[in-house]
Every structure is written in structure tokens, then in C-alpha cells.
């Protein structure tokens, strides 16, 4: 039985819709789950996890496969296989600043706030920026608005929250999409089951 790590956050609803559309009745199984975190259905053991934890469970083999955003995969530096890019939840990881402001180093390191400490640091370095990272747990937009940081690095889906807070995306740093991911050894041992799950999520062969 495949152990399938399912994210409980923003990716859950579109994932269930996609699976249900392809005949993999996740919605029904999860509706009857109540507060259970492990649910069995149609040859799958569903593990309900926080979005950011999915790559960790999969990389370490506590789950065979799962669904996670590229942002979480890269921020966790998880060595997992990306079997299928899913057709929902696409967004951008952007450098964000106050409207009308230019983000420059000006003789001192930039201060960047982000939930993605490793990923933001890596992408800043790739752009040659000398940046000090401030790790924040949420509402990172405030850090730019209140001057805690020169800019923030965060996901932008529609940009509405930014506009309402007087902020704007300055640069797109990474295109982000959710993926069906797999643990390397589990993929070798359970290849046929993984391919069947991939097909059930709309993957072509």
C-alpha cells in the first residue's frame, strides 16, 4: 500500500478536486476522516500533514510519495523525485518592496525577510546580492511595510494582498508549482503503484 502524504493547507482543496475528477475518490475518504491524520482508501494510506512537512516525510521514507510545492521542496533541500507537476496552485516567489521603492544594497547588506530562509538566501546569493535574512513565520508583508526589512521574499498568487498593503513585486525569483514527489527508494520498489497514482492525478505517459 502506497503511503501518500497529503498537504492539509492551501493545496488540499484543488488536489482533492483533481483526484476526484480522475476517479481517485480522495474527497470522500477525507470527508469521513474527522480528526484522523491517517486514512486508508483505494490502495492508499493517506497521511495528512502540514504543507511544509511533506518533503521531509517523503525524503526520509516515512511516506512513499506526496504532494508539495516547489518552494517547500527547495527550502527543505529535500532530495526527492518530482514525478509530476500538478495543474493548479501555480504562483511566483518574488522579491517584494514598498510601492515606488528601489531595492538596492547602497553600501550595506540588504535586509530581507522571508518564511523561506534557505531558499531566499540561495536565490539572493545567485543574484549576487549581499543579504541578511530575517526569518519570519507569517504575514511577512508587514516586515517591508513597517521597515523591519528592506524587502521581503514571498509567494505572490494574485498580488491583491500586496496592493492592499502598499507593496509591489519587484522581481520574480522562482516559478512555483505543486508536484507529486516520491522517495527515491520507494520509487524503485513501488514503481508500478507510483505510476498508477501519477496517472490518477492526470499525468501522461
Amino acid at each position: 500500500m502506497l503511503r501518500f502524504a497529503v498537504p492539509k493547507g492551501r493545496l488540499l482543496e484543488p488536489l482533492v478536486e483533481l483526484a476526484d475528477r480522475h476517479g481517485l475518490a480522495l474527497g470522500e475518504a477525507l470527508a469521513g476522516a474527522g480528526r484522523q491524520l491517517v486514512v486508508e482508501t483505494a490502495g492508499l494510506r493517506l497521511l495528512l500533514l502540514k504543507d511544509a512537512d511533506v518533503p521531509v516525510y517523503v525524503e526520509q521514507g516515512a511516506a512513499d510519495c506526496g504532494v508539495a510545492g516547489l518552494d517547500q521542496i527547495l527550502d527543505r533541500d529535500a532530495d526527492v523525485l518530482r514525478l509530476l507537476r500538478l495543474p493548479f496552485g501555480a504562483c511566483r516567489l518574488c522579491l517584494i518592496a514598498r510601492e515606488g521603492e528601489v531595492v538596492r544594497e547602497e553600501g550595506r547588506p540588504l535586509v530581507l525577510a522571508s518564511k523561506y530562509q534557505r531558499l531566499a538566501g540561495m536565490l539572493a546569493q545567485r543574484r549576487g546580492l549581499n543579504a541578511t535574512l530575517v526569518p519570519l513565520a507569517g504575514s511577512v508583508e508587514l516586515a517591508a511595510r513597517l521597515g523591519l526589512a528592506d524587502a521581503v521574499v514571498d509567494l505572490v498568487e494574485t498580488g491583491r494582498t500586496l496592493r492592499e498593503n502598499g507593496l509591489q513585486p519587484v522581481e520574480e525569483w522562482l516559478a512555483v508549482a505543486p508536484y507529486l514527489i516520491a522517495q527515491r527508494a520507494a520509487f524503485l520498489w513501488k514503481c508500478e503503484e507510483m505510476r498508477a497514482l501519477r496517472r490518477a492525478l492526470g499525468g501522461q505517459e
Binding site: 526520509q60 523525485l81 514525478l83 520498489w189 505510476r195 505517459e205
Partner: protein, 300 residues
């Protein structure tokens, strides 16, 4: 009584039955290799820091030189022994700890016990090295049905990039293949529909008849298919991995890894490579068992 001295995270002192069992298996495996003509060597724990030992512990010795703890016997033995080679082949075996500060698995210790063999000056021979490695795995008590062998050839992913795109391979495209990310690969490189389908099939572990010819790697892959046919009657499962992540960077030919069913970890591996001998570059082949992982696989 005083409390035991603290040790760095992830380090253990072993006592009793566990030690006895490991020593017993180690001796059985070394006896097997020496019985096959492999000469036992003892290699140093320290050497001057070398680019291939990246990721290992490094420090400055009393003379101000940068030295590193050994992370892998295969390149270490090649650097120390191959330059002294006479004309004929030399076969060696070894056993001991290597230290890898970032273990791949959470409960794995940084110290890995590596027991293996190398032959310098023998062309090809990867098939025999795989056979011998599987003999060692069996002698360590791991059942064939609990093993899966992943087979690859060094440079196969790069060959696929070169032949499908007609351009020199870009490192980022090779990396996408190692992550099996066909979607982003196909965003980067526009391929005809049939070739794109073949690429997906190759990455998803479909039979080579569905992709090898279309991707222009049928000749290379036929060697891997023959190896699979050798393994099947012995009850050993196998898979062709066109872009493995865990391969030693020094392999330049056949490259294999043996995965355990319950540990989900690599318990043995090996392949073909080249060494710099006294009179130029020479072929070499080797294999090894990670003894602790093998014992964990059999439930010890």
C-alpha cells in the same frame, strides 16, 4: 561512577553482541574476497584534503596542512595504490569506517562501515563486480528477495540530453533528469511528441523497449537489459535508472546500487572507473557493502 564522556551528535560506542556480530560478518566477507585472490590492504584514516572528499571533515594538522578524514575507500585507494601499479592487474580488498558528516537518512550514523574490493588494470568487468557484490550481500545474511539493484551507466543522462536536443548537455538539464522532472525539462527543451513521451517513460521506469531507441541510447541500454536478464533468475529485482543521484562521481561506466527493502537505503554499490597509474590512465572496477546498513536490513 562518572557519567560517560559526551561524544559528538550521531556518534555511538558499540558493545557486546552487536560488535561480535559485525566482526563475524566482516571476517566472513574478507575471507571470501581473499579466497578469490583479493589482497587485504589497510588504508589511512587521514589524507591531505582532496576535492573528491568534499563534504567530509577537514582540519589543519600541526604542520599547517589541510587534511581530511576518509569518506570513501574507492577514490582513496585509487590515489594511494594505483600510481604504484606494475603492469598486471592488482586486486585489493579492505574494510573500515568512513565518515560522512551528512548522512542521507535520519537514523544513519556519520560513521559508515565500508567493506569492499577493487581491481586495477582490468577492462570492463562491471558485471563480475556486481556478481561479487551480491555474493557479499548474501554472505552478510541479506536475502536476494530483499534486494533491488538499480543499474545505470555514467553519462547516460548527458547522452540523452545531447541526442534529444542536438546540443552539448547543460548541467541544469542533467539535474532535472536526476530529479525526474520531465515537466520542467520539456519547458526548457522543446521535443517532438514521441521523444517527449519516450523521455517520460525512461524517467518513470518503463521498459527500455518503450524509450531507448527513441532517445538514441539503445546500444548503451542493451548492456543494462542483459544484466537485468542475468539477475532475474536469481530472484533479484532490478531497475534501470537513467539518471541516478547517488552514484559515485568517479564512475565512468557501469554503475550499480543495491537497495534494501526494509531500510530503503543503499546497502551496497560499485561500478567501473579509471585510475591514474604510473604509465597513464588504466581501467578499474570495484564494489562494496555498507556493513551496518546490511545488518540493519537483516534485522540485526
Amino acid at each position: 561512577m562518572n557519567a560517560p564522556a559526551p561524544v559528538p551528535a550521531g556518534v555511538l560506542a558499540l558493545v557486546g553482541e552487536q560488535v561480535r556480530r559485525q566482526r563475524e560478518v566482516e571476517q566472513r566477507l574478507l575471507d571470501h574476497l581473499m579466497g578469490r585472490g583479493y589482497q587485504l590492504v589497510h588504508l589511512p584514516v587521514l589524507e591531505y584534503a582532496h576535492p573528491e572528499s568534499n563534504g567530509g571533515y577537514r582540519f589543519v594538522d600541526t604542520g599547517g596542512q589541510l587534511v581530511g578524514l576518509r569518506t570513501d575507500f574507492t577514490p582513496l585507494a585509487a590515489r594511494l595504490l594505483a600510481p604504484c601499479l606494475e603492469a598486471g592487474p592488482l586486486s585489493i580488498c579492505y574494510a573500515g569506517e568512513v565518515v560522512r558528516p551528512r548522512p542521507a537518512r535520519l537514523r544513519q550514523l556519520p560513521e559508515l562501515y565500508q567493506l569492499g574490493f577493487e581491481t586495477y588494470g582490468l577492462d570492463g568487468g562491471g558485471e563480475d563486480a556486481l556478481d561479487l557484490t551480491l555474493e557479499l550481500v548474501a554472505l552478510a545474511g541479506v536475502a536476494a528477495s530483499d534486494c533491488l539493484v538499480s543499474l545505470s551507466l555514467a553519462g547516460l543522462a548527458e547522452a540523452i540530453v545531447r541526442r534529444t536536443t542536438g546540443r552539448p548537455p547543460r548541467p541544469d538539464l542533467g539535474e532535472l533528469l536526476r530529479q525526474k522532472d520531465a515537466d520542467v525539462f520539456l519547458d526548457e527543451v522543446a521535443l517532438p511528441a514521441g521523444t517527449a513521451r519516450a523521455l517520460r517513460a525512461a524517467l518513470l521506469g518503463a521498459p527500455p523497449s518503450l524509450w531507448a531507441a527513441e532517445l538514441g541510447v539503445a546500444e548503451e541500454v542493451s548492456r543494462l537489459v542483459r544484466l537485468q536478464q542475468r539477475l532475474a533468475p536469481r530472484g533479484v529485482a532490478s531497475a534501470i535508472d537513467v539518471a541516478p543521484r547517488l552514484a559515485g562521481s568517479y564512475y565512468d561506466g557501469l554503475d550499480f546500487a543495491v537497495w534494501g527493502r526494509s531500510t530503503q537505503a543503499v546497502l551496497a554499490g560499485g561500478g567501473e572507473y579509471r585510475v591514474e597509474g604510473r604509465d597513464g590512465s588504466r581501467p578499474a572496477v570495484g564494489g562494496c557493502v555498507y556493513l551496518g546498513v546490511a545488518l540493519e536490513e537483516r534485522g540485526c
